[in-house]
Assembly symmetry: C2
Homo-oligomer: 582 residues x 2
């Protein structure tokens, strides 16, 4: 009973071992993450088209909910770039940014995503995320990074560019270039350069100044906060608001009210598909970060329980005025590096953000949005990585096609269609390959009982036996292809009296393939050729034994291919195989 409870409430297992040392480690990590998270939460809310405070709200209760239900010790949950972009794109279809209905739709989206994740977790459907291949994930993350970066440029320039896709966005940005607000640019550009430098050069500088690796690394993470403070002070001092510089403006002080989103909101039908996409993509991002960090400390995460944790976090976000959240890469790494040892670090971070919401929000009025845009641009450009193109091109063209499909379609049509096309392309390519499987005529490697491809190895064969290895499970998509290939092979060599199919790679024979085998057996029998099978695996043999196929088979089933050839060979061994064209 306690064990089952602990499986669904991981807090019960790590909570028991909690001690003073954990408290200190988690507390320190929480302080660092809080400092990093404040500007990030505000920035991602901007990216999602939401008021700044919703970013803060999404960084409180969701962290507590994940702390109770999540299995990763160090994952940091909250608003992230890709999910914020997807939220903007989903909600933007049915409402205008700034409207009350826009905010309500974002909260509803979080609720729907939360329930979807929860349901997937309870149904143990976490394995579905495996169908997003690495190339697809890499493709959509790079494309998202590019889209996000360009979508934020308008805030740096102080212009009003719009676009449904990257091309429209670029054209709009270009046409608006002449209206650039120089005061805004004077704020945005220096922050952008500063943040790039913080990310690339500051840590090295601090190290040469004699700081420890840990301190240098953590201090470098506070760059955005410095940018926020400096530009807010500048905006206040120089009254930049009067010069056309967009500021965050009045933000409600204090904690969010808890409330259920309007369940009768008819928007839910329009948001359903997006909620599913956001859930799956958020889950994949979160689980891959969780796996990586857990592996570093020899810990484990449970994907199905992670779904429940993220589901709870999203429901909590929705109830407390937030929008869809997930486990973010950058923040989780900071949490991990800062020494977090349990999910309590996340709960402490939530407290930190709550304190900030109470005491610091009045000062946000003077914060230029250009500063937040610069924070986003620097953060997402680190996601852009084209090396996957080169890697997949040299390794496997099918992976390359999956990457480029995802990348291009995402850039042109958006994340949802991009990911859907990427998954479809990967699956279609996989099925295509299995529908035209590799086959090899094989012979015995001298001195062993091992059989290999006659075209790759020096092997011994017999002219009256066709030893054929089929490198795929036999199923409907390849059944008639394999049948045709076997007939075509036999036409090459009329002397053959035995065909032995080596079934080491045959993990399944479905009904369509069974019928193909029956028809091969009949046709070979008509031509006085016997059909044999070797090395059939247990589960496949179990299935064949439930049919009449084995009793109709003209030949035998052999435990190993060596036994088959030893028994059947009636012609001399030859080291020069027949000239099979396969």
């Amino acid at each position: 009973m306690v064990k089952i409870l602990a499986r669904y409430f991981p807090i019960l297992s790590w909570g028991q071992e909690y001690n003073k040392a954990s408290l200190i480690s988690d507390g320190l990590a929480a302080v660092i993450v809080t400092i990093m998270l404040i500007p990030q939460s505000l920035a991602y809310a901007l990216l999602a088209g939401l008021p700044a405070e919703m970013g803060l709200y999404a960084s409180m209760l969701p962290l507590v909910a994940y702390g109770i239900f999540g299995t990763s010790r160090t994952l940091s949950v909250g608003p992230v770039a890709v999910v914020s972009l997807m939220t903007a794109s989903a909600v933007g279809q049915i409402a205008s940014s700034g409207d009350v209905s826009y905010m309500a739709a974002a909260m509803l989206l979080a609720l729907m995503s939360g329930f979807f994740l929860l349901a997937m977790g309870l149904l143990k459907a976490g394995f579905l995320a495996n169908f997003l291949s690495h190339p697809v994930i890499a493709g959509f993350i790079t494309a998202s990074g590019i889209i996000i970066a360009f979508s934020q440029l308008k805030h740096i320039l102080g212009v009003n560019a719009q676009g449904e896709n990257l091309l429209q966005l670029l054209i709009s940005l270009f046409s608006q270039l002449q209206y650039t607000n120089l005061s805004t640019l004077a704020v945005g550009l220096p922050v952008l350069v500063f943040l790039f430098w913080v990310r690339s050069g500051l840590k090295a500088l601090l190290l040469t100044l004699g700081m420890t690796e840990f301190s240098a690394s953590m201090l470098a993470k506070t760059g955005p906060v410095v940018g926020v403070i400096a530009t807010s002070v500048a905006a206040y001092g120089f009254e930049l608001g009067n010069q056309g510089v967009a500021l965050v403006g009045q933000v409600p002080v204090g904690l969010p009210e808890l409330q259920l989103p309007a369940m009768d909101n008819p928007a839910w039908k329009h948001l359903l598909i997006s909620a599913i996409f956001i859930s799956i993509i958020g889950f994949v991002e979160s689980v891959s970060v969780g796996h990586t960090l857990a592996a570093k400390r020899r810990q484990k995460i449970s994907p199905d329980q992670e779904l429940i944790g993220l589901g709870a976090a999203n429901i909590a976000s929705s109830l407390s005025g937030g929008y869809p959240v997930t486990g973010g890469f950058a923040r989780s790494v900071v949490n991990f590096d800062a020494g977090a040892v349990t999910p309590a670090a996340g709960i402490f971070t939530a407290v930190g953000i709550a304190l900030a919401a109470i005491f610091f929000t009045p000062y946000l009025a003077y914060l230029p949005t250009a500063t937040l845009a610069a924070t986003i641009i620097v953060a997402v450009l680190s996601l852009v990585d084209f090396s996957i193109l080169k890697k997949t091109w040299s390794y496997a063209k099918s992976d390359f096609i999956a990457v480029t499909t995802t990348l291009l379609v995402t850039l042109i049509f958006g994340v949802e269609i991009g990911v859907a096309c990427g998954v479809f392309a990967s699956l279609a390519l996989h099925l295509y390959k299995t529908s035209k499987p590799h086959m090899a005529v094989i012979g015995e490697v001298p001195g062993t009982e091992h059989f290999r491809n006659i075209h790759r190895h020096k092997v011994i064969t017999h002219s009256d036996i066709l030893s054929l290895r089929i490198d795929e499970s036999l199923y409907f998509a390849n059944a008639s292809y394999i049948e045709d290939r076997i007939y075509a092979l036999l036409e090459q060599q009329p002397k053959v009296k035995h065909v032995v199919l080596m079934c080491t790679a045959v993990n399944e024979i479905d009904l369509s393939a069974l019928e193909a085998l029956e028809s091969i057996n009949m046709r070979l029998t008509d031509s006085d050729i016997k059909l044999h099978l070797s090395e059939i695996k247990g589960p496949v043999m179990d299935m064949l034994e439930r049919t009449h196929f084995l009793s109709k088979l003209s030949g035998e089933v052999f435990l190993s291919h060596h036994l088959a050839v030893s028994k059947l060979a009636d012609s001399p061994r030859q080291t020069q195989p027949l000239n099979w064209e396969i």
Copy 2:
């Protein structure tokens, strides 16, 4: 050049060998098929909701076109039951049966289907049809048979029943039962009983009367013609038309005018999906019949050229006032049994139908539609075969799910959605199985170099080696599953120093799986366990050699698993394997 021409115009190859013997055989077959085809053409036009003459038109030029471009020697092309049903359902969405726009849409559908088939043939995309598994085909054919049979009952009862799906149709039929036209029933029921008897008992009777097998079989095929003549005479004699019995009525005499369907018909957008489905299903039906008949005479058909042949037939049908056609099962078998030796039999049949259209159409005015409905019902009920349910249930549950999905969805929502769901279900089940592959811990079968599952065979193992056979290609959908399983296995036995993955069933390692292997290798290295691979196939090894993986691999790559174990074993051979829970 001649060879290429002959590939696209098979008539050039069989035409050269044509002689008097072929002429006699083909001529006789054509006479028999013509007699069988006249009532069938009229009946299927009725099923498609089209005037009777369009059934005849669809049985002339299409046969000539297929005779020129098709590769099957005996396939008989023309209107068939399933395609007629699909035509009715597609065209019924945009026009009312009886309207000129309904006929125009049916002709346009044939044109679109023809161009689609032609394009698939030129692109050599015939393999796509392999993705329709036998269970899916069996499911949709049985369901179509049921739908068609019930849809024709109203003509036997003389009532006006309607329904979008089977349930609605049954309810409508039941509520109309009280309005049954007894005169119509008095025609329809006897014909129905007569045709059932012709199919089931006549041939046996003729055989006992001393007739030869061939004559008895052929004579039994003329049953529908007898029914047509008898009921037409009765309708004329008893003036059944005045008693509410629906008759075919005036049919235009003579040959169809050749004309291009209106290309600017805006209906094409609504028909596009249906045209694709009709093309694919027609192709699958045609090719499976063609394969079966060709195999009986050791002939071959070329699926890609068949696409061109069927494409040409559909375009011809469209230009000559017909509707979508394909190679039919029943008629092709009759053609084959009647002794047809070349596609010339089809061309002669077209001439026969043309003569009928010129000389017999005036007599069709008195033909009761109930007779045609009875012809359809008897023909399609032979398609209904539930034995596939039992067969798949006992053989493989995944095939059973594919059949039942297709069957039920087709019955409830129609053929197009049914087939789409069936294909989706088969592919999803296949992918699901490959995403959680079978794995076996293996040991050496004593006295051989052959390795098998420790739980199924008495084998020899070593306590410091985990020999693992993964029964699937490694790809994104199963990469992390396999990774987790390997870690879980290793936790069971801390003594293991070597993990050897036997890769006989690994036909592919994609990028996602390669990354999983790299991470397994790193994690095992941390625990002082070496990772080895054995029996990697040539094509997979080629790919691995293009990466850094092999240089990072802590262990080795062995040609055979026997060599791996011989070299690595450092502990005594044991016949009692470790207690691996897999």
